[in-house]
Symmetry: C2
Subunit: 233 residues, 2 copies
């Protein structure tokens, strides 16, 4: 990929899920040279990182970095593989409050690494596929958190403080329903068959179809009037 | 160490240098059960981490975690071992502006991990030994950055958002001169012979005595009227 094609670089957090794949497509559609950043942080299943690699390749990012960080060193409650993922029959059975799948300070850590890479690249734009509507339980997915991160970032980096590069934290899906996200992504050519959403996949990597993430994905495709290529009915 | 001795837990960022050793001593003197956090991030010399381990042991922290993160994956300018460290004869020759030893978003990343560990521990207090007076060049050492991080953190974690645990980012050295820091630490019994400050140590780990950090340390001890046990005259 030509480094001097005139497109400004940007860093996109890419989990391999539906939302981050859409955020990556939005970033590219807005004219950025996308650099995808994923984390190997002791999550339950490597199938998520496989999906991130597929999506990064399909959308032709400039570079994809998988950063290894060991949150398990902090002990019990940061160890996602120790969590019992709740299962339900239908999306409307998902309870209120912050889900047990919350990982302490996860998005803060992810965005901090994105900030470091952005400054290294001479980039000011960071994209994150957080969504505050369909699954508002995570505190670090809310617009007020993203805004506070951006404010902090603009006091943190040499490039921002010297006035060379302001930091903009983009959360393009923030106010969209899951169905709207899917329609947006389909319009941008995202192949959702490459993505992975399940919190509790089987040994073969197949989605459980009953965790919060599977149910919200299913509901989203149904409301978007589309078939999920990763999960044909 | 008794987990139920009534002292609230706190996380302290510990580099192995003079400032962070003092911040750790302050944390303990304020009645916290200290958890020390260091990073193996591709810094020039392991002698820094050896110093962190010595200090953590001497000050009897509850636990010391050395988190390995590979900032070198982001390429050139994040690779501290590629930097040419400037050398001078005297501290007043140190130039203005942000030093070349700046690492993109380093304190943002470090504080984010501290935040994750704090939440895991049920702690709200994070200590960082930044100092804005004697070496004000780093943007992420300034009080306004620390305040912005704290504001962001209080929107980020489950514990803060649920009102169970506010985050307080303590920077107890922020407004002290190097000499005042040294006097404070000596009063708290810090053995500065265990600490390491040099940006460019020799193969035997000895300080170069001419980098910014060595010169500021030397000036600090001189102004404090004390002898540096790590660097006897």
């Amino acid at each position: 990929m030509d480094q001097a094609d005139g497109r400004p670089p940007a860093v996109v957090l890419l989990s391999g899920g539906l939302d981050s794949a859409t955020a990556l497509a939005v970033c590219i559609s807005e004219g950025f040279r996308a650099h995808a950043l994923s984390f190997d942080y002791g999550q339950r299943h490597q199938v998520e990182l496989d999906a991130a690699r597929r999506v990064a390749r399909a959308l032709q990012v400039d570079r994809h970095v998988v950063m290894k960080i060991d949150l398990r060193q902090f002990g019990g409650s940061a160890l996602t593989s120790d969590l019992a993922v709740p299962h339900h029959e239908r999306a409307d059975e998902i309870g209120p409050g912050i889900p047990v799948t919350y990982v302490p300070a996860r998005n803060t850590i992810f965005l901090s690494f994105a900030l470091a890479w952005a400054e290294t690249l001479g980039a000011g734009d960071i994209f994150i596929g957080v969504n505050a509507l369909d699954y508002s339980g995570y505190p670090d997915c809310r617009p007020e958190f993203i805004e506070a991160f951006q404010a902090m970032a603009n006091l943190a980096t040499k490039a921002a403080v010297e006035g060379r590069q302001r930091v903009r934290a983009h959360a393009p899906l923030s106010q969209l329903t899951k169905a709207e996200i899917i329609r947006l992504g389909l319009g941008l050519g995202v192949d959702y068959g490459l993505t992975h959403s399940c919190y509790d996949p089987g040994p073969d990597g197949r989605p459980c179809r009953t965790c919060d993430s599977c149910l919200l994905r299913q509901k989203g495709f149904r409301e978007a009037g589309a078939e999920d290529p990763a999960w044909p009915s």
